[in-house]
């Protein structure tokens, strides 16, 4: 009985470890890679990445196909089956097996990293040219790919509540005990098209709507190629908790210039939509941003942000410089120069940094080392034998 079980396990293991399985998985991975890369041209880098590479299932023409993560999982299983065989650890196969261990480590590590990674943008504005004036300090980062709905009320917006994008599903009801009303999301747009309502529009009576939505209407827009440029928007209805009667129907979109407000029971609530924010354990303010050019040309040779980093421990900020290819590392966080807007009329000088927290940063480095060493070993073992067979004609 036990013997049979072991035999059957061994045969399954042998099947999983066979190159046939891996070859098949690799072939499919190549197909995914080609189509995923080509589609970047049409739907943008971020969207294609989400569709092909950062998912388990790829939906295409109504079919569910295995996406990159599933394929990598299969490959991982194959590798585990292979390296758990004794035969894999014979001396002449050591390099080969090391490579496989390295790949396994790399794949597992990357998965760990993507699950643990925190990433966002820090938009730093320079307040004024005069150095005495302090620039505003940012203590949070923004996610350009997700929006959040914030409700505020009271003096200095003392009360506020945030609803994350995953809660903003059409039909869902947003509520908190402190609020005397519920918010029902009617429609949500990842990228929104804003148009003025015309007289001929069949959009129903403007009296059905409140505020901005009386004059403007929102509709779905094709996602921008550059996913960060998407502007999320939504229609929602505010319903009184007690009477269950609608108070009004509103339209809202990200960074709206006019703030929408709800008046209920003598209280005024302000409601805004903005890129999703994540608090940082420190604050950053911009001192100066500069672009260097190669002399006599319009080619930039470098970008540089001079920043002040504020920590709870410090009363005053620590000065630091962030340059292209030279990020600032602070605790678990790394700040990189990502983009900028130069001061023009009506806009302030802005430097955009990327903040990343990743505890598994070293995994790819170690995995890379193992893979490279293993492959080198393998080549050293194999190559002399391969080159020896020479037949002089």
């Amino acid at each position: 009985m036990l013997n049979n079980l072991i035999i059957s396990i061994k045969s399954i293991q042998a099947k999983l470890a066979s190159p046939n399985l891996v070859a098949l998985a690799l072939l499919w991975l190549i197909v995914l890679l080609i189509f995923g890369t080509l589609e970047q041209k049409f739907i943008g880098l971020y969207a294609a990445q989400q569709k092909y590479f950062s998912s388990f299932v790829l939906w295409q023409w109504g079919f569910a196909l295995p996406a990159t993560r599933s394929v990598l999982l299969v490959i991982c299983v194959g590798i585990v089956a292979k390296i758990s065989q004794w035969a894999a650890w014979k001396l002449h196969k050591l390099g080969n097996s090391l490579v496989h261990v390295g790949v396994l480590f790399l794949l597992a590590g990357t998965l760990f990293n993507t699950l643990n990674k925190q990433e966002g943008y820090l938009v730093l504005q320079k307040e004024d040219a005069s150095p005495s004036q302090k620039s505003p300090i940012r203590e949070y980062m923004e996610d350009y790919y997700a929006a959040e709905l914030v409700i505020m009320s009271g003096e200095d917006n003392i009360y506020s509540h945030v609803f994350k994008q995953e809660e903003l599903i059409p039909g869902s009801t947003l509520t908190t005990p402190q609020l005397a009303f519920n918010i029902v999301i009617d429609e949500f747009f990842t990228n929104v098209n804003i148009e003025r309502v015309t007289a001929t529009d069949e959009q129903s009576n403007p009296n059905d709507y409140t505020g901005f939505a009386k004059i403007f209407k929102l509709s779905d827009k094709k996602s921008e190629l550059n996913g960060e440029e998407n502007l999320s928007g939504a229609y929602f209805t505010v319903i009184d908790k007690q009477t269950r009667k609608p108070i009004g129907k509103y339209a809202i979109f990200e960074n709206m210039p006019i703030i929408q407000s709800i008046t209920h029971a003598d209280l005024v609530y302000q409601i805004i939509m903005q890129p999703q924010r994540t608090p940082l354990p420190f604050g950053v303010g911009l001192i100066d941003f500069s672009v260097d050019y190669h002399p006599a040309s319009e080619v930039a040779s470098g970008y540089k942000s001079e920043v002040l980093v504020y920590d709870k421990k410090f009363t005053s900020g620590q000065r630091a410089v962030i340059e292209m290819n030279e990020p600032l590392r602070y605790k678990d966080w790394t700040l990189y120069q990502s983009a900028f807007n130069q001061a023009e009329q009506g806009s302030k000088e802005t430097s955009i940094l990327v903040a990343v927290k990743s505890s598994g940063r070293l995994i790819p480095y170690i995995a890379g080392l193992i893979i490279s060493f293993g492959l080198l070993l393998h080549i050293f073992v194999r190559l002399p034998r391969l080159l020896r067979i020479t037949s002089k004609p």
């Binding site: 890679l33 995923g36 890369t37 970047q40 002399p295 040309s297 040779s301 492959l375 004609p393």
Partner: protein, 714 residues
């Protein structure tokens, strides 16, 4: 088995056998044809650019006839430093870059680039009439008569553009990448004509175009009449001139106020003054001319053009000396006085360098000389010609050897022959080695001039990959002496050289790097390793081509030879197979290491190890393909020749990753320079490779089927 054949046939057969055994990978013909086809397709659409070299050769012949036109010695003038696109370069490079941009040529008729530039800045009026601008698709829009060389003068172009001003303005505002080819050409042309005009006005402040003929005005301005002077002198008279005009106008007004019937006409003196003021005003427009930055910056690293210097008020006694020398140079050029011209340009070079030296504290003269040498020597062209010679000798070797034997017989050296296999091999090796040396020299000079690692743009990656492949081929030939290495070295050397000429960039192949790439450390590690990976993959693929060619050609006797294990067939097939396998392992190692290094760079610079960017995916595609092949090899269903076919296809994967992703134009790596016509070449190449695989596999399979049938019967 004995076959009766006539003696004559025997000889013929021996030639065949000779050729056959030595062109071990008989694929040389097949590969050569294929790669040639690819290069023709990729280049045919722009044949005129490759033709530039051919045209140059013709020009050189013409130039021999026109020798007397050349009176001036430009060797010192060509060395004059100018700051352009981020670095100090000799005027010769500046001239070549702009001539290439305007006319798509390296020479203009009998004029060298530097001679042309001298004319543009020292005698602009003459240059405005010289056919210069290349027109491809704009004859209709600009209403220009078609010409054989399609070159049109600045005057022609500016008149034609003037008529289409509105269209040009509109196009310049819109997104360049969305325009049609003709529209892009129109935008480029209008921009280029502005650049040309800017350069042509660079020295207009030294040209003596002012001349006061009126004696009264001359005495008022305290100058001698009828002696021409230039802007620099004229501007000193500006105050007096304005005073004179003001006085004139006031007296006119006064006299009119007193007596409205007084004549309103201006006197000849007054008209002369107004004309002078007008000309001065017109010349003031030239102040915008800032491209020819020949004056070292004294307090910063930014150099200035003469006009810019005046405009910024950046003068100093040193600069004044340079001004005087430029003015003298202008006079010498106009007078055609070679002796003085050479002396002045030498002086000017010395003074400019002295000023630059004191500012930059590094001796730049040898760098300028080195660059001039690089411009003139055309090392990569020489290298390619040497590879061609090697290929010619290799192809003709059976014939050469036979001739050698004949001669040897006559003079009595029968045994080894006058020219034997080994000696021919040495000759080929010498040619290839010479090619490698010249091209490595070219790469090293580029590194010194640009002060950065050898690979930083598409053009350079072509050169680097080429040199590595050729060197591998050389080594292989040195060891094995069976023409396999020669095949690898010559085919890739010639084809990649041609592609290198084609992708020299728009005029300037030595541009500065954008900020992300502006780091020598990562350029020297990640980029070099990846490029070496490309080279290894291509070598592997060429080996696979040979293997497959051999497989097809031997198919009929393949099995028999295998069983007999007799030298030729099996041994060669086996070592080709082993080399191929070893090559794929090395390619995999380099690609993996390079990609991991790239990931580390990305992690350091952008905070992410991997971002599914097209170029990253391209590198990953090569890796995955190699891994797939190596795994498929050990499955039972994949035979050696299918494995070889997969490695032939590796070429497609490499080309897609190296050239193809640039066509997508998305993501962080889309800095490579590629135009739309490359798409045609790319598809042509892929088509040829696919056809090669399909044909050889198909033919092989049919032969195998046949032999197995006959085998069954037996």
């Amino acid at each position: 088995m004995t076959i009766n054949i006539m003696t004559r046939n025997k000889i013929n057969l021996s030639i065949y056998h000779n050729l056959y055994s030595r062109f071990n990978p008989l694929g040389i013909c097949v590969i050569g044809l294929m790669l040639l086809g690819m290069s023709i397709i990729s280049v045919a659409s722009h044949a005129d650019e490759i033709d530039a070299d051919a045209l140059d050769a013709l020009d050189e012949l013409n130039a021999l006839n026109a020798l007397e036109i050349r009176q001036l010695d430009y060797s010192q003038f060509a060395l004059l430093p100018v700051q352009h696109q981020g670095r100090i370069k000799p005027l010769d490079s500046f001239a070549r870059i702009h001539l290439k941009i305007f006319s798509h040529r390296n020479k203009l008729g009998e004029l060298d680039a530097i001679e042309w530039l001298a004319e543009v800045i020292l005698s602009p009026e003459k240059s405005y009439n010289r056919p210069l601008f290349k027109i491809r698709n704009l004859h209709g829009i600009l209403q220009l008569p078609p010409k054989e060389d399609n070159l049109y003068s600045f005057y022609q172009i500016s008149i034609a553009l003037g008529k289409q001003q509105q269209l040009v303005e509109e196009l310049r505002k819109s997104d360049y990448s969305q325009l049609t080819l003709a529209q892009q050409e129109l935008v480029d042309l209008s921009y280029n004509s502005l650049v040309f005009f800017d350069i042509s006005r660079s020295l207009s402040l030294f040209t003596p175009i002012f001349n006061i003929e009126d004696a009264r005005l001359a005495s008022y301005l305290e100058i001698t009449e009828n002696s021409p002077f230039n802007y620099l002198d004229a501007i000193k008279l500006n105050n007096r001139l304005n005073q004179f005009i003001e006085e004139t106008l006031r007296s006119k007004q006064d006299s009119r106020a007193k007596d409205p019937s007084s004549p309103a006409d201006f006197t000849a003196t007054e008209i002369a003054a107004l004309a002078f003021a007008n000309l001065l005003g017109t010349l003031n427009n030239d102040k915008k001319s800032f491209l020819l930055k020949v004056l070292p910056g004294q307090w910063s690293s930014s150099w200035t053009s003469p006009w810019e210097n005046i405009d910024l008020g950046d003068g100093s006694p040193d600069i004044a000396r340079l001004f005087a020398l430029w003015q003298e140079l202008l006079e010498d050029y106009t007078n055609g006085d070679n002796e003085k011209w050479v002396t002045t340009s030498e002086l000017l070079l010395g003074e400019t360098l002295a000023l630059y030296d004191s500012a930059a504290s590094a001796s730049p003269q040898w760098r300028l000389k080195l660059e001039l040498f690089y411009n003139n020597a055309r090392l990569f062209l020489i290298g390619m010609l040497l590879y061609m010679l090697a290929a010619l000798v290799a192809i003709a070797s059976p014939l050469i050897e036979r001739i050698g034997k004949r001669i040897g017989k006559r003079i009595g050296k029968q045994k080894h022959g006058l020219i034997n296999d080994y000696k021919i091999g040495n000759l080929i090796l010498a040619f290839i080695g010479g090619g490698i040396i010249t091209q490595v020299m070219g790469i090293v000079i580029r590194m010194i001039i640009l002060n950065r690692p050898p690979v930083s743009n598409f053009h350079e990656s072509l050169l680097f990959v080429m040199v590595i492949i050729v060197a591998v081929g050389y080594g292989l030939e040195l060891v094995k002496r069976n023409y396999l290495g020669t095949t690898i070295a010559c085919t890739s050397g010639i084809i990649l050289s041609l592609l290198g000429f084609y992708y020299q960039g728009q005029g300037d192949s030595m541009q500065m790097l954008i900020a992300v790439l502006n780091t020598n450390y990562w350029l020297a590690t990640h980029v070099i390793v990846i490029t070496m990976g490309y080279a290894a993959a291509i070598v592997t693929s060429i080996l696979a081509h040979s293997y497959l060619a051999k497989y097809v050609l031997h198919q009929h006797k393949w099995h028999k030879r295998h069983k007999l294990a007799s030298g030729l067939g099996r041994g060669q097939a086996e070592y080709l197979y082993n080399y191929m396998l070893g090559g794929s392992l090395i390619a995999l190692f380099l690609m993996l290491l390079g990609t991991l290094l790239g990931g580390i760079w990305a992690d350091q610079s952008w905070g992410r190890f991997w971002g599914w960017d097209p170029k990253e995916n391209g590198a990953l595609l090569i890796i995955l393909w190699l891994i797939l092949m190596l795994h498929a090899r050990i499955t039972s269903s994949v035979t050696p020749h299918v494995f070889a076919a997969g490695l032939v296809a590796l070429n497609i994967v490499v080309v897609l990753s190296w050239f193809g992703v640039n066509l997508l134009n998305v993501g962080l790596h889309s800095y490579g320079f590629i135009d739309n016509n490359a798409l045609l070449g790319l598809f042509g190449f892929i088509g040829l490779e696919v056809a090669y695989i399909a044909m050889s596999l198909g033919y092989g399979a049919s032969c195998e089927l046949q032999s197995s049938r006959t085998g069954g019967r037996a």
